[in-house]
Symmetry: D3
Subunit: 124 residues, 6 copies
């Protein structure tokens, strides 16, 4: 399998079948090359690496994204973190690293996005 | 114990006796209140939290600091991560999250600082 | 009084009785520990410090938040700045520091948020 | 002509008559001095410089704004880039610089804003 | 007087005769247009504004620069803040806003630069 | 050729034979996987794209890096920009986009790094 196929498989496992198709279709509608590169590079080359387990990598990713205020990827990574086995409490603890080292306002902005993700996951 | 004493104890465990005294003395020489607040808040209130283990919290901290380019705290946290049980390979994997989500240049700048920390730890 | 009680009292003075209860309830609904730490650390340990008057501290806070683009805390701090005695013109001057030193787009994004705060404060 | 008049003329060429009046009126309603300084400095002193052509300057501006996540100015600069002769494909390539050097999430957030701009430009 | 002359006069008052000439010469040696624009825009158009006193504007500027980690301008603004009447204690309090709202590591990096400025000002 | 070989070839053209070998050796000494991913992703997948010419892509890259303050990659990209045909004046104009949209201090920090690059290139 090439990087793209590896990445697609990797995201499918972490995001779920329904959501990944919707997300990929949305990326492809705006900029097909972006969809291709995100899947191949972020999914196929980086998320497939070993060394630390998926849950830890998810918590680390959340920290990078919350520190930078990258809204769309942060929401996706909250979803993936839960799918990768992180509890809400563990996500909170990762975000307290953000509070200490990038300021409490960065954690606040992130919590608002986390709430949106949890609401969307809640059964109707 | 109050927050300050808890924080001092916590940092002592993570940084080692010699280094913590030198660091605290240096902070106190510049701005005694900063030394007090960092120890009480970052050490006593945040690092003493549970929920995720110390190694994971160190990797998350590295991600926040590398994404923001905060040099001094990044170097201290590389040191603490190793003391908290992170291998160099695990630190690399945390930094690959930074590469994917904050760009490869942020990982490059961080690796240069990691190298300085490893050199300082190497036996003469 | 401990840090939490000091912080709650401090925020109550700066935000007003109605708003602080709503804000604390909202924080607590998402992440009770975040509510506790923000009140104790940001409110109780940092906002209770002296050295410069509350209005100046509000203007400084706005500058940090606008430079970083932290939306939620920026809006709260616009509200607190007005309650701490800052005129709209003084807030504008603080934001011109942001324009010069973090770029005009950071001031633009902040002005949009300021407008929302002023609209919410306007009598119906 | 002074800086303000030069800037007004420059923005008029890049944004179009209708949009520039609406934008200036909106700035002036919030903070008249901001409107004056943005036009005089960003428009009159910086955008009137030569050295590299307008399209290249637009692509460079997009890169600065996407890397920093400055939403309002980013949307305006997407509009101006198209008016300055940049194709959507060229804007994508500029954004791939952001992906490589500030992370894929910065490009994602920018693409969402680009989509809004393109939708607003589309004939009904 | 035009913006440039106003800015040169303004910086001369805040930086001192000797330092401003050395700084301007150094800017001009690297990029004469940068020297001209910084003096005219930052000095002549922004620092000459009223509304809040110079000391408050200096503290606000320090907050923007420390939050963003802009080393060279931060050091210059520490110097100007002291010349504008800010005590070291007042600068510390401005930096505690940075600690609360952009994280303690941003204050740490700034304190290291402040120390360099104070050392350079100390009589031999 | 795979991504890595394409990237190595691409960097060789933009950096020069001597410098690229030294840089790759240095990356490999710190973290071989970083060397591999930077070459394959940044060099092989992103720099090999078409759409806009190499010089424009270099100017865009400089803008991303100066806005974020990423020192090591910024210096490398100044070097590559010159090799890709950008004149010093064109680099200045790209940096004036940074001044307008990320603040003059970001341009100042970048100019200091540009000066180091130009000094290193100057014949002895």
């Amino acid at each position: 399998m090439d990087d793209y196929d590896l990445g697609r498989e990797q995201f499918r496992k972490m995001v779920g079948d329904d959501k990944i198709d919707a997300l990929m279709a949305r990326f492809a509608a705006v900029c097909p090359d972006f969809q291709r590169e995100v899947v191949a590079v972020v999914g196929g080359r980086i998320w497939t690496r070993g060394g630390i387990d998926l849950k830890t990598r998810s918590l680390c990713s959340i920290c990078v994204l919350a520190a930078q205020g990258r809204t769309n990827a942060l929401k996706l990574n909250f979803d993936m973190a839960i799918n990768n086995g992180a509890s809400i409490e563990e996500i909170f603890e990762a975000l307290f690293r953000v509070a200490a080292y990038a300021g409490f306002p960065a954690m606040w902005d992130a919590l608002v996005k986390l709430e949106e993700v949890l609401d969307a996951r809640a059964p109707a």
